[in-house]
Symmetry: C3
Subunit: 326 residues, 3 copies
């Protein structure tokens, strides 16, 4: 995962990790330094990984990680090079440990680092409105516009020829070239991710960012959450209408068109040249193929193959929907 | 109804009330002073109440109020101690009279009392961003954060360890401990309540407030309206995702989880441990039991008993929904 | 179309227009000056018009325009007085030419003309909050309120007795008398209108405005886009709840009531005394008659005649819907 923003405070020694996880482990050969926490596929020998569902059995078999947070029932699918660390709840443990590697990813309070844009190097470079604030670690391209009361919080890169509207708030986001973001958007905040715990839910860290590719347009009042363990991505030349909600880890392809008030739940992947009508909703963890058309108001609860037109709730082939509803 | 915010300008004498209602009443023994206007159940002998629908017949029989705004056809269900005041439209009359007891509840223009937080006692107590405004009758707990451009308008109590995002506006609201409210929310404005009148609708007063209990999280862009004759309540440890609309008088229980773009219409009551999927809508005046799960995109138009999973539009048992839509 | 805001930079000579359209035309009698670009019905002899679909054949026959942007297959339906200009894509060409007549209609970057209201003539005329900004060509009636951080951008007329909330942004809009617009709205930005082009969509100009008639109320977080070739209109005494999206060219009649989170897609026309329940969606280019009631959550994909109650997705007669879903 490409993430230039959240500083990795590792390495953390494996003995320290075991302490953080509050478990007991025997037969530990050495106090190895662990560099990072990564998924089964991308982890390297210096990393720790996690394995929480049978779904990932095939990938688990080939992981290169030296350690893996997992359960008693899953541990036997790990290769010999990877020592299982048995915990009660894998994802809660992963969340705890991730917070240690990336402590800055768990704070989504307002950004205290911001200063007025007129006190920054950008004051002669971009056109800006009244009361514009700029946080730490921000870069702005040439020929950009930033509207009144907008807040470019910490960890934002904006490319050339971009126009940000008024009353918009952005953090932890990379915006490429020729992008327009209209008024009243909130981009890059943590997603709706937590472990339900009675009386006090446990939030998990969001170490992903938002990436908005060239030539996109984001309508008024959009909320685009940053990813948890991967990035939220809006592909090149994709246009979003007003009041759209894009949840964490969503990836949208290129040249797609998404009408007003659409919501896309966490981790769904949308293809290229996709058209989504107004108020449609897409459940989490789905794959919507290329050239798919989803009728307005649809509720999509299954993945959709390429080149398909669907409509309805639950969404089905549009011809079938229209025939049944003549 | 607990409401520390709207000042009661009573008592108002019964003769004055009769004038306000523009009716004629004979056989009035004395010019009693009336303390307040309350519902049939909570009204006391010094109060006036109202009775506008047969539904409340059983409660009407036992009201302790000395006077009741009602109609010719309903009046006979009132007890002897309660004198009926016959009007054409009960709710319009109640609205008129309530405005006299609580004149401050009908003004939702911007709050002219606000001043910069740096001119208040809070400037050394909480962490705050640029351009934060504080209205009359505000209290803030310790260890709180208030983001840029946010406006804590009049009549707001915020407990300890709360984090308010940027561009958020709050009035007439009690926020308990450890609550996070993200960016761009509007909380405590009047609800969508009025009597349709040709060419000039008649707004009714909203004398309720919003109460957000401990450990809640409210996502970006939420709108939570205050109650009209009762309070709008978000129970302990309930989490709301982005772009959610909660209408007046809604009560949500504890430990509930409500995903993005959900809307809950006026006066519905949601139980504890309820899960509501994205974009679901719940009609007004319904009762959703404890441990209910409502699938994303559902349209709920009937009350739902405890421990039930529903989905669809209209929402039905989820197994039935999935079977019918295989 | 009534539009006092976007300056017409015409006339443009027909030879210049032919150059702009990048086409070849023979037998041109003279280099006529063209005053404006208008639809087939309203165009006059000094105007150019366009004809892109057989649907408009009957109107095309009687157009008074001297020139018409059209296609080889449609041109024969034009009258003799109207010379066809054959292009590949009529709407793209119209868009190009409209941008030349109305260059100011294509820029929706933040308004650089604004200044603090306290530097304007309005400072003694209206009540205003902190950080209120006023753009060029704004007029404000008496007894108005404008809330904190709100931006009345260029080209806005507001009548008497209006109340604008906080954090609201308005441009290119006429607001008549006694209108209340609550917090966090964005009104008058361009609609979601463009020609999809691989890698770089082509936006078309929005030369329409928004008109909000007397006694309306617009809830928190509304987005109301201005029209493209006509105006977006909210009729007298129509009330909109929170988080509503009204797309370009929509016209809503008088005394209508629209509940939370409703979306109305482009160019639909809604009658008088219409009631629309929460989260309902109305597709584009439909006609919803007078006295229509649309149940909450409905998805309307066909026009609806007067005096009809509908519900469902797709919306059908409400009795049928309820019978089928008992």
């Amino acid at each position: 995962m490409f993430n230039p923003f959240f500083k990795n405070y590792g390495p953390i020694s494996i003995l320290e990790i075991i302490k953080i996880l509050n478990i007991k482990v025997d037969k530990l050969n050495s106090n190895q330094e662990i560099t990072d926490i990564k998924d089964l596929y991308t982890a390297n020998t210096s990393d720790i990984t996690f394995f929480h569902s049978k779904k990932y059995k095939e990938i688990a078999k080939d992981t290169k990680a030296s350690f893996c947070i997992t359960t008693e029932t899953l541990k036997d699918d790990l290769p010999k090079n990877c020592k299982p660390l048995i915990v009660e709840n894998v994802l809660v443990s992963v969340s705890n440990l991730t917070s240690k590697f990336y402590p800055e990813s768990i704070n989504d309070d307002f950004d205290e680092t911001v200063i007025s844009i007129s006190e920054t190097e950008f004051k002669d470079k971009v056109k800006f409105g009244k009361n514009v604030l700029i946080g730490d670690n921000v870069s702005l391209g040439s020929n950009c516009y930033i509207g009144h009361n907008s807040i470019i919080e910490k960890n934002v890169n904006i490319g050339n020829n971009c126009s940000i509207g008024s009353n918009t708030i952005i953090r932890n986001t990379i915006i490429k070239k020729n992008v327009r973001i209209l008024d009243g958007c909130v981009i890059g905040k943590h997603g709706f991710g937590f472990f339900p715990v009675k009386n006090k839910n446990l939030r998990y860290p969001h170490i992903g960012i938002v990436i908005i590719e060239d030539n996109c347009e984001i309508g008024c009042g959009a909320t685009i959450d940053r990813g948890s363990m991967s990035n939220t991505i809006i592909g090149k030349n994709t246009y979003l209408d007003n009041q759209i909600h894009i949840a964490h880890n969503v990836k949208i392809g290129e040249n797609s068109i998404i009408a007003g008030q659409v919501g896309i739940a966490g981790s769904s992947v949308i293809g290229n040249n996709v058209k989504i009508g107004g108020q449609a909703g897409i459940s989490g963890h789905l794959k919507i193929g290329n050239n798919v058309e989803i009728g307005g108001g649809s509720g999509v609860i299954k993945s959709i193959p390429d080149n398909t037109k669907v409509m309805g709730y639950p969404a089905k082939n549009i011809k079938e929907f229209l025939r049944e509803n003549k």
